[in-house]
Amino acid sequence: MRTLSTRRLLAAVAAVCAITLAATACGSSDPAEDGGGAKDVESALAKGGKITVWAWEPTLKKVVADFEKKYPKVDVELVNAGTGDKQYTALQNAIAAGSGAPDVAQVEYYALGQFAIGKSVEDLAGYGAAGHDKKFTTGPWNAVKYDKAVYALPMDSGPMALFYNKKVFDKHHIEVPTTWDEYVEAARTLHKADPKTFITNDTGDAGATTSLIWQAGGRPYKAEGTDVTVDFEDAGTKAYTSTWQKLLDEDLVAPISSWSDEWYKGLADGSIATLSIGAWMPANFTSGVASASGDWRVAPLPQWTKGRTDSAENGGSSLAVPKAAKNKELAYAFAEYATTGAGATARVSEGAFPATRADLESKTFLETAFPYFGGQQANKVFADSARNVGSDWSYLPYQVYANSVFNDTVGKSYVSSTPLSQGLEAWERSSIKYGTDQGFNVNK
């Protein structure tokens, strides 16, 4: 079976090589920016072949089925090669080993920089990706674009919102907080009324922390090529630490790690009352916390300054084509199909949150009633949030590493009396050290 598929793959690659004399995919030489081109993608689709896609996103199953129906000569193998970090490790290994890399890989925005700077993903600008700049919302598009290169196509986005358990709020007569100060106050009231209930959970989550700093206007990371700046002392970061420190000092957040079994249980039984998280969360709620259907609602994120409408992105992922991919034209064609047009719309109808303007602004999308949220048209809240995402945010080119040491540094603030600001300083130091060791020019 293995040899057969390899042989078919090789045959397909050979065929594509034969007809795409532009030599973008077949040579090991660096494909120039003008390489590829929409025409080659078209002929690759007509010719057919087999591609492997590494992704864990559940709505892609439908996209693969639709795509294979539309292009019967193309065979797409969708492989769940692990989730998040595990997949990146597998991908990194396959790229380093020189064999076994997929043709398309799901990569979260925060991790894309690592693959882009390592020159292990293909610049898709020449394949036609550059022409899609107006199709995607600003946040996700900025996350995949570096100068003129486009290292992936945005698959979904995560403008943040406040998910709250209305049943719990009603029971204790608490108003939905509109500022973070009100949020802290609500946390106090709630925990006093029922010591088993917490406003939210937090044991130190790099993604959540950086997103809230982003919303507060902090821009701790700057990356221009190999020049990197890490600075956790700006005003935005300080606004975040001073507020979050109150929650930690008064034990107002549940010591439960996000995504654990206990977390799902806390969301189900109401002992975790709110989440400030990305707009992709409804899918996780419906599949993971089915028993709390009807209890939860969505509200705009609380503000750092009263009266503003600032927001940030949290999570979200893209489809990238590794340089080691065997059939890049076909891979691009699939990524394009899955992230734009019919593929994107199909994914939205399956519960994914779009990164495309057309889907985000469509009436059907905005007016979709969520039975899970008591019939609320939650997408209106998310779409507003997407419009208000603060600009100029960037992650480190080695954010995967930085996030992996978050719990060794900032995590201390959650289990000891180390102030959050000191934890962030320690994180900054280890990020700077690692970056310098890796050959980046890191400034503080």
């Binding site: 559940p58 492989v79 692990g82 998040g84 076994g100 992709w280 996780n284 028993s291």
Partner: protein, 322 residues
Amino acid sequence: MTTNLAGVDANAADPAPAGPTRTSRGSGRPALRPRRRPHTPLNPRPSIPLTLVTGLVLLYTLLPLAWLVINSTKDQKGLLGSSGLWFGEDFNLWDNISRTLAYDDGVFVRWLLNTLMYVAAGAGGATILAVLGGYALAKYQFPGRRAVFAVVIGAVAVPGTALAVPTFLMFSSMGLTNTPWAVIIPSLISPFGLYLMWVFAAEAVPAELLEAARVDGSGELRTFFRIALPLLMPGTVTVLLFSMVATWNNYFLPLIMIKDPDWYPLTLGLSAWNAQAQTAGGEAVFDLIITGSLLTIVPIVVIFLLLQRYWQSGLAAGSVKE
């Protein structure tokens, strides 16, 4: 989840090694005998504290299993919304099983077949090697026998986990990682099984019997297959059970060797499903993981029930022979 189950299996497997070796040596028999007969002057009536302690241990052993069976009848909603130790409102076991087998294009079935292959090739091969090696070491005199003994005893003491990374590097340089060979070949080596067979063969196959066979003109191979092998059966089954359980539950070796989900064994597959709940957009399928775990332990329980009479009859045979 899987570790709990592994614990149960390991507990169930524990009496096996002690059985054939100890009883065949004749030790411990006086202590065992009277306990079977109640109300003798030596043991007038059951001790209540001991019974209580035993009961607690039994509960501790069976509770995870009961939890697993009960919770595999619930869907995701029931899992998070109802008490863990009693049934929910709906009975979804059959539905859960069919969804587990169908989820992700039936990848669970593929993992099950992979596991069966690893067990058949790895544990089967390990048993054959252990029987051949153990018999040879017990019944033949050759130079270097003591050295082999030292190596085998030393190897028993080295945990497989400690060898995993060196093995990975070795297999990686041979280009065998990410293939089933990377799991099968290391599974073939079972120092403990070899030692067990060695000790067992030394006791179970009388030298006089082999002498008689040789005098009657039977060749060494024929002697082994016709005379020694039937006598070695109880020990062989014990070693087979051990290696099967070890291979079935193996997690760490495939974890570092196999990156292609097509070659995952069940342990890795279930852990991958569990990891799915840990990210944005990933699907939380706790109901399928729990049902999958139940399905994972069923074959190993069946194998135990089917094979137990072989090593039990072995125990009995040993106890009356001497």
